[in-house]
C-alpha cells in the first residue's frame, strides 16, 4: 500500500506539475510532427479511400453519348487562311 502511494505520488510529480522547457529552443518540432501525422493519415485516406471511391463511382456513372464531330467552321477557315497568308 505504501509502495502504491509512493508510485502515485512520483507519477503525479513527474507528469502533472509544469516543467520548464530547457536547453535549445526549437518551436517547430511539434508543428512538424502534426504535419507529418496529417500527411500520413490524410495521404493514406486519399490514396486508399478517396481514389478507389472515385474509381468505383465512375464505373456506375451513366456515360454521356459521344458528341458528334464538329463541322469545320467555313468562315473561320477562310479567315485563318487569310491570316496564314499574311507575312
Amino acid at each position: 500500500m505504501r509502495l502504491f502511494r509512493f508510485t502515485v505520488l512520483i507519477f503525479s510529480v513527474a507528469f502533472l506539475t509544469p516543467q520548464p522547457a530547457l536547453a535549445y529552443i526549437d518551436p517547430g518540432t511539434v508543428s512538424m510532427v502534426i504535419q507529418g501525422l496529417f500527411a500520413i493519415i490524410f495521404g493514406a485516406a486519399t490514396a486508399w479511400v478517396m481514389r478507389p471511391w472515385h474509381i468505383v463511382k465512375s464505373l456506375f456513372r451513366r456515360r454521356k453519348p459521344e458528341p458528334l464531330p464538329r463541322q469545320p467552321d467555313a468562315a473561320k477557315q477562310r479567315s485563318d487562311g487569310d491570316q496564314a497568308a499574311k507575312p
Binding site: 507528469f15 522547457a21 536547453a23 507529418g36 500527411a39 495521404g43
Partner: protein, 479 residues
C-alpha cells in the same frame, strides 16, 4: 505607377536606369529578407529582387499571377520599374505603392489580427493551387490600408516545399492562432504584450501556461502537444529523429492534403469570436447627459473639417470613433488611436461596414508603442508613423494631464510632433463634471490661459470656440 503597369518587360529593359546602392534608403525591416530588399528612391517605394529569385517573379508578372493575387487575395500592387541597383545587376526592381499608415500587430484589435491572418492564409491556399507557398507567416507582412489588410511581403512567395505541408505553420500558430485564442478568452492585452516581447511570437509553453484549466479540458490536443514539446526539448537526439521521421512521412505532399490542412487552419481562424467585454468607454458618447449639446460639438467639428479639408487626420483618444468616422466621410484618411480594445473593435467594425478609410489602433497616448526590433530600429515607434495634416485631441487633455501626469508643455510638444498643420484641441476645465471622476495624481492648477500659453509654443494661431458645455472649449490651432 500606372504608366509602368502595362509596360512589357522587353520594352522596359531598353529604358533601364542604373542607380547606386548608396543613393537609396533601405527600409530597416528589410534586412531579414534574403530574397531582396525594400528601398526608397526619389520618394517612391521599390523592391529589389535578387538574381536567384528574379526569374520566378518575372514569370509571375508576365503570366498575370501577381495581378490576380492583387485583385482577389490582398497582395500588394506590384509593377516593374525601369531601374537596376548597381550591386544587383541581374536583379529585378519592382515598384509598390506606399501603404499608410504603418501599423503592427501589437496595435491591432483581435478582429484586425484575424483579418490579417485570413489574408495570409487565403494567399497561401491560392498559391498552393499553383504549386507555390508563402515561406513565412509573420504579421509584419501585412499592413492595413485604411481598414483593408494588404499583404506586402512579395518575396515571401516561393515554390512549394515538397517535404512539408507548410513550413510556416508554427509561425502562423505563434503569431495568429495563439494570440487570437488568448483574445477570445478575454486576454487580448496579454497577447499583444507577448507579441511585442517575443520576436518569434507566442510559444506553446507560454500559451499553455496562460490558458485556463477549462480551456485545456476543452482542447486536450493542446495538453498533449505541450507534453510532447516538453519531452522533445529535453532530448535533443530524440527530437532530431522525430523531425527526420516527420519530414520523411511528408515527402511529396499531395496537393489535396496540403489544401485540406490549410482549410483546417482557416476553419480554426474563422471560429474565433471576441465577446464584447463590458467597458465604461464603449458607451461613452451614447451616455453623455442630455443637458449637454452633443450636436453643437458635432456641427462645430464638421464645420472645421469642411473648412480645413485635411488629407490625413490623427484622432487621439478616439473612443468609438464618432469624429474619426466623421472625418473619413469628409474624405480624409484617418488614424484613430485609443487604449481601449473594445472601442477599437467597435470602430474597426464600423469602418469596415461603411468602407471608410479609418485605421484604428490600440495604443496609450501616454505610453505609445516604442521603436523595437533589431537595434531598436526595425519597427519605428508610433509617433514616427502617425503624423497627420490635422490632429484631433478631443476630451483627452484631462486624462493626459491629471492621470497621465504630463505637463501642458510636454503635451504641446507631443502635439507639435504629430501635427502637420492644424490641431483641434478640446480644453476641459478643472470644474468639469468628469474631472472629479479621475484618480488625481497631481495638483490641478491649470486655466484656459495657461493651456493656450503652452500650445502657443508650437502653434501660432489659436482660436477659442464653444464646445458642447460651458466647461469645455474647442481650441483651433494652426502652425
Amino acid at each position: 505607377m500606372a504608366e509602368l503597369g502595362n509596360m512589357a518587360l522587353a520594352e522596359h529593359s531598353q529604358q533601364i536606369r542604373t542607380i547606386a546602392r548608396r543613393e537609396v534608403t533601405v527600409d530597416p525591416s528589410s534586412f531579414v529578407d534574403p530574397q531582396g530588399f525594400v528601398f526608397s528612391w526619389n520618394e517612391r517605394l521599390y523592391r529589389c529582387i535578387r538574381s536567384q529569385a528574379a526569374p520566378l517573379f518575372r514569370r509571375l508578372l508576365d503570366d498575370g499571377t501577381l495581378a490576380a493575387l492583387e485583385q482577389d487575395h490582398g497582395l500588394v500592387n506590384t509593377a516593374v520599374a525601369p531601374l537596376v541597383v548597381d550591386d544587383e545587376p541581374d536583379g529585378l526592381v519592382v515598384e509598390h505603392p506606399r501603404v499608410h499608415p504603418l501599423s503592427y500587430c501589437v496595435e491591432w484589435c483581435p478582429s484586425m489580427l484575424r483579418d490579417a491572418g485570413r489574408t495570409t492564409l487565403e494567399l497561401t491556399i491560392e498559391l498552393a493551387g499553383r504549386d507555390m507557398m508563402l515561406q513565412d507567416a509573420y504579421p509584419w507582412n501585412v499592413l492595413f490600408s485604411g481598414n483593408a489588410p494588404v499583404f506586402v511581403d512579395l518575396t515571401s512567395i516561393v515554390p512549394a516545399d515538397r517535404a512539408t505541408i507548410w513550413p510556416a505553420h508554427e509561425q502562423f500558430e505563434a503569431f495568429f492562432l495563439r494570440p487570437l485564442a488568448l483574445a477570445a478568452e478575454g486576454k487580448g492585452k496579454v497577447a499583444r504584450a507577448l507579441l511585442h516581447d517575443n520576436i518569434d511570437g507566442i510559444g506553446l509553453e507560454d500559451f499553455s501556461t496562460l490558458m485556463s484549466a477549462s480551456y485545456h479540458l476543452r482542447h486536450p490536443g493542446l495538453t498533449i502537444a505541450c507534453w510532447v514539446d516538453r519531452q522533445l526539448q529535453r532530448r535533443g537526439a530524440l527530437k532530431m529523429k522525430v523531425r527526420q521521421l516527420a519530414e520523411r512521412a511528408s515527402t511529396n505532399i499531395d496537393p489535396a492534403v496540403r489544401r485540406r490542412f490549410l482549410q483546417g487552419l482557416r476553419r480554426r481562424l474563422d471560429g474565433f469570436t471576441f465577446a464584447d467585454k463590458a467597458n465604461p468607454w464603449t458607451h461613452y458618447y451614447s451616455e453623455i447627459s442630455s443637458e449637454f449639446d452633443k450636436q453643437a460639438k458635432l456641427n462645430a467639428i464638421t464645420g472645421l473639417l469642411e473648412s480645413i479639408q485635411p488629407r490625413t487626420v490623427l484622432d487621439l483618444g478616439c473612443n468609438t470613433g464618432v469624429f474619426s468616422l466623421l472625418a473619413a466621410r469628409q474624405g480624409a484618411r484617418v488614424i484613430a488611436i485609443d487604449s481601449s480594445e473594445s472601442c477599437i473593435e467597435a470602430l474597426y467594425a464600423a469602418a469596415r461596414q461603411d468602407s471608410l478609410p479609418v485605421t484604428p489602433l490600440i495604443a496609450d497616448v501616454v505610453n505609445p508603442t516604442p521603436a523595437f526590433g533589431f537595434m531598436g530600429r526595425q519597427y519605428p515607434g508610433l509617433w514616427q508613423r502617425t503624423r497627420a495634416d490635422t490632429v484631433l485631441c478631443l476630451a483627452l487633455m484631462h486624462h493626459l494631464h491629471i492621470t497621465g501626469r504630463q505637463s501642458f508643455e510636454r503635451i504641446a510638444e507631443l502635439l507639435d510632433e504629430v501635427t502637420g498643420q492644424h490641431l483641434i484641441f478640446e480644453f476641459v476645465a478643472h470644474d468639469d463634471a468628469n474631472v472629479p471622476l479621475l484618480p488625481k495624481r497631481r495638483r490641478i492648477d491649470y486655466t484656459l490661459n495657461s493651456v493656450v500659453a503652452a500650445l502657443e509654443r508650437a502653434f501660432k494661431d489659436i482660436d477659442v470656440r464653444p464646445s458642447d458645455r460651458e466647461t469645455r472649449k474647442l481650441l483651433v490651432c494652426r502652425k
